[in-house]
Each structure stands twice: as C-alpha cells, then as structure tokens.
C-alpha cells in the first residue's frame, strides 16, 4: 500500500504537544502513518483527538514538537499541507444561507479550479455523497444532521486530496448513514489510495475500517498497532462470566485472582483473558463453587477492541484489575 504515484501521503508527528493553559491536551505524541493506510485514532471524549487533528490540518499551532503531512511541515508549509489534505471536522462547517452547489463550487474554486470545472466537480460530489436528488434551492441550514455531515464530507473532497482527515465522521448518525460513510471511506482508500486519518469513539468503526489503530488517552498514545495485534495483547480468548449482582462479580474477581491473573470487571460482568479459554473453564467453575458465588452465564469469545480499550485507557483497569495483570500477558501465562 505504498504511495501510488510517488506523491507523499504520509503523516508523521514527533513529540507533538499542545497546552491550553495548564491542560496538556496533546502531551508528546509520536506518530508514523504510512501513505495509503486507514489509520484509526481512538479515544474517549476529551482525550485530545480533535486537538491533534486541528494541529495536523494547520488550523491550530502546536505548543512544541513538529509534524508533517504529505511531506510538508504543518507550521512552516501550511499552504502546501492544505492543498494535499481534505478535512471534515467534528463540527461541520457550513454556511446555512448557501445551497449545497454554491458551497461546493465556492470551495472548489478556492482550491484554484476554474468555474466550469468546479460546476462539474460539485455535481459529481453530490452524487458521490447521495445528495444529488435534494431540492437544489434548499439551503444548507435546512439540511438534517446526516445530510450536513455528508455535504461536509463532499466539501473535503473537492480537490481530490491525497490525505483525508475525518474527525468523528459518524458521531450522532443513524446506522444507515454510518454504513454509507464507512463504505465511502473504504472506496476512497481502495480507489485512490487516499490515506485516511479517522478519529472515532466507536470501537466497531475502528475495527471495521482501520489498518492501524492508535489509542489516545489524556493526550498520550497508550497503544498502537493493527486491530489484531492490539487484541492479541490482551489475550487470545476471553471468558466472560455474568453474575446476578455487581457484588458477586466483585467477589468473583478476588476469588479468581490465582487462576486468572488477567481480568477486567465492568458492573456484573467479569472478563478473563487466556491463551486457550476452554481448558480453564472447569477450574473457574470449581473456584466459584468453592467460594459460594453463583454464576448466571458463561461465554467464550475473541477479545474485542473493547477489551483493549478498557485495558489501556485505564478506566476499569485502575480499580478492578489486579496490578500484576498489567505487565503479564494472559496468553503467555497460561501457555507456559
């Protein structure tokens, strides 16, 4: 998936940092995104995703560190960067008084395209994002949330960018609109080799689309790799135990410490990570029996990005998981 026509489609960041007063919104981020990838940037609300996107897209200066996009330095060569990238931010940027065609044509012309061609581009993109049958007189202010999002995406594509930044492109969308955006992102990547830098709060979105994922928490990247690599870090298989109460789940968590060192609890569920889950199940049941804790359900599944996320963002980890679990991969433990 290297750059097709010799054009640089990569994104790099070195020790990138942005402070807002005392808050370190982005706190020393290093990134290396090869050209042609779909790169998923995952993190809870307020983790620093949008700030990072704003720095990479030249609308916010970093406090320190450097970054380059498409081979150009974001601070010193902002104009070059903007020619190479398309951007759809989390908050759409539409003038409510203008129609979709007017917005698309103006945006296209501002990228230096002559008017006639800009008109064709506008029509083509309206088809691409499925807004071609909307009343041409309808102003953007009267569009629904999903339509605004699609129009905003079209505005990001007017100059056939080499690199596309999408900041939470599907947040707040219904499942059908979400699926349509996913399909479009895939197609842009497949057909044009466009590098796509996508931030999201949805694990499923990252899992489905991204070649590589980075997880950001409190301004720092806490995990990075392919979805498969990340999942393997928590273990090969998960045993999920369901209890009648969170009290039971908590007691089970303590009781199972010796036999399942790697585990996370959320409410009434306890997830245990193993190399091979099935062979551990009899032991688990015995321990729970001995402790007098009744089990409501048990399932064996593959680890999901949820597991990874829970583990690296520390929310559940800090309180619920045994400290030793952090550095001992579950799989290794069981296999030995």
């Amino acid at each position: 998936m290297s750059d097709r026509d010799g054009a640089d489609r990569s994104i790099t960041a070195e020790a990138l940092r942005r402070d807002f007063g005392k808050l370190h919104a982005v706190d020393g981020v290093d990134l290396e995104v090869p050209g042609g990838q779909i790169f998923g940037f995952l993190g809870p609300n307020g983790a620093g995703k949008s700030t990072l996107v704003k720095i990479l897209t030249t609308i916010l200066n970093p406090t320190s560190g450097r970054a380059s996009v498409g081979g150009y330095d974001v601070q010193r060569q902002g104009g070059k960067v903007r020619e190479a990238i398309g951007v759809a931010l989390q908050d759409v940027g539409l003038d409510p008084l203008m129609t979709a065609r007017e917005l698309l044509m103006l945006q296209t012309e501002l990228f230096g395209t002559p008017r006639d061609e800009a008109r064709k581009t506008a029509e083509r993109l309206l088809v691409t994002v499925g807004l071609d049958d909307v009343d041409p007189k309808k102003r953007a202010g009267a569009y629904s949330g999903g339509m605004k999002r699609r129009l905003d995406l079209a505005l990001a594509l007017v100059h056939d960018p080499r690199i596309l930044f999408l900041d939470e492109p599907t947040t707040g969308l219904d499942p059908a609109s979400r699926a349509a955006i996913w399909e479009e992102v895939r197609r842009l990547n497949d057909d044009f080799g466009m590098t796509i830098f996508l931030t999201t709060q949805y694990l499923e979105e990252a899992d489905r689309l991204a070649d590589q994922i980075a997880i950001i928490n409190k301004g720092t990247i806490v995990a990075q790799g392919t979805p498969e690599e990340l999942k393997r870090q928590v273990g090969d298989e998960v045993v999920e135990l369901q209890f009648g109460s969170s009290d039971d789940a908590e007691r089970a968590q303590d009781a199972l410490a010796p036999v399942a060192p790697n585990r996370q609890r959320s409410n009434r569920e306890l997830r245990l990570y193993f190399g091979r889950a099935a062979e551990n199940v009899p032991e688990l049941v015995r321990v729970l029996d001995g402790a007098g804790i009744s089990l409501q359900g048990l399932t064996i599944e593959q680890p999901s990005l949820d597991d990874v996320f829970l583990r690296v963002t520390g929310e559940a980890l800090e309180h619920e998981v045994d400290e030793g679990a952090d550095d001992v991969p579950a799989g290794a433990e069981v296999r030995s």
Binding site: N61, E83, V87, G93, P96, L97, M98, L106, L110
Partner: protein, 253 residues
C-alpha cells in the same frame, strides 16, 4: 485576489438573502433625514447659517448609514466563526486574510450603496451640492472611509470576542460618536461647555465639518484636509487592530 472576489460575492449574496440585516439601518438613516430636516429646518434661518439645513443634517444620516453598515462586517465574521464555516475557509489554500477581507469589503460595498441611497433621497428632497458632482463623490468617499474605519473596529471586536452579543454591544460606541458633536446645530449656537469639549475630541465632528463644507459652502481645503486626515488616521488605527486580531484568529496560536 480572485479568492477575495469570490468571498466578497458570497458575502454580498448572503446579505441579499437576509435583507433584515440591512433594512433597519437604512430606515434609521432615512428617518434622521426626514424627521430632523422637517423638524429643525428653522435652524437655517438663524443669522450666520450658511446653506440649507438639509445639507447640514445629511452628514448625520450618511455617517449613521456608514457606521451601521460597517457593523455588518463584524456580524458576518461572527456568524462564520459560530457556524464553523470560517474554519472551512481556513482549510483552503486561500490567503488567510482573504477570509476576513471578503466580508469586510462586502460590507463596505453595502454601506456605500446605503450612503448613495440616502444622498439620492436628499437630492430628491431638493439638495443642491455646493461643491458640485465632485463634491458629491468626495462625500461618498469620506463616508466609505469612515465606514471602513468602523468596519475595522467591528471586525476587531468580532475576532477578539468571538461572541455575537459582545460584538453587537460594541457597536453602541457609535452612538456617542454621532451625538456628542455639533450634530443638530452649528458650533456657534452651542453654549454647553462640556459638549464643546466632547465635540472637539470626537473625530466625527471633523467628518461632519468636511461633508458640510462640501454640501453647503463649497471647497474648503482646511476642513477637507482635517476631515480626511482624521478619517484616514482612524481607519489606519482600526485596520491595524483588525489585522492583529485576524492574525490571532487565523493562526490560533
């Protein structure tokens, strides 16, 4: 340059789509013209008054039209910032100042049109311009520059506060500037010492003087030089303030 033209066109089109943003301002200017001209026209009968009262009060209506029109620049910028379109424009290779120049020049065009409209109404009411057609044009130029000076101020407030209500409130500074001057009667008939002090400090006084000389008495180089100097000085000051605020707003450093 081409980008600036495109952005001016867009702002003008938007203004046409929301006539409510300019109509009140035109109405206020025309109101000044009719009400004070008919209510206070006997001032012209005072001994020593030169020209007509219409020529005397018209600059008040013109400056009100210009200053009100200038507020539009700030409003447009605030709207763009609020709805995110400002950022969308910053993401194009457009020179970043064009994103600010576009709405500012558009509002200058709108305010000039308003000024010309008010002056045409005055001509219909029987105005004779003492300095002739060139004098008429110079009054428009003065109004345009004075409007730009306020557009700079409005843009500065908009970019600094990024808040529609605050920018709107800032435009109320226009009121004392219009009324703390020899607004309704010539200097010779004002007896209140405090008003004389205020009028001397108030730059609008010199704009009124220049316009009135052109409309009522003809060519008066001293009053013209002072009027243009004050206007250009004020426009330069607010222009620098606006550029400074624009640099902060577009670089977001």
């Amino acid at each position: 340059m081409n980008d600036t033209v495109l952005l001016i066109g867009r702002s003008l089109r938007n203004t046409m789509r929301e006539p409510a943003t300019i109509l009140p301002n035109i109405a206020i200017s025309v109101f000044f013209l009719f009400v004070y001209n008919s209510g206070l026209s006997s001032v012209a009968e005072l001994p020593g008054f030169q020209g007509t009262y219409l020529g005397f009060i018209l600059p008040v209506a013109i400056v009100s039209a210009a200053v009100g029109g200038a507020g539009l620049a700030g409003q447009t910028l605030i709207k763009d910032i609020d709805n995110g379109y400002f950022t969308k424009l910053l993401l194009t290779p457009t020179r970043r100042l064009s994103v600010i120049w576009g709405p500012m020049i558009a509002s200058a065009i709108v305010l000039t049109a308003q000024v010309v409209l008010v002056m045409l109404i005055a001509l219909a009411l029987g105005l004779k311009v003492a300095a002739g057609p060139l004098g008429f044009a110079l009054v428009v130029v003065l109004a345009f520059l004075w409007g730009m000076a306020f557009a700079g101020y409005a843009a500065f407030m908009a970019l600094k506060t990024k808040n529609a209500a605050a920018a709107q409130a800032a435009t109320f500074a226009f009121f004392p500037l219009i009324f703390l001057s020899y607004t309704f009667v010539p200097k010779e008939y004002v007896t209140a010492g405090w008003l004389k002090v205020a009028a001397t400090i108030n730059p609008t006084t010199y704009v009124f003087d220049s316009m009135r000389s052109l409309l009522n008495t003809g060519w008066d180089s001293t009053s013209l030089i002072v009027g243009f100097a004050v206007t250009l000085g004020f426009a330069t000051l607010t222009g620098i303030m606006a550029l400074w605020a624009a640099r902060g707003a577009t670089k977001m450093s």
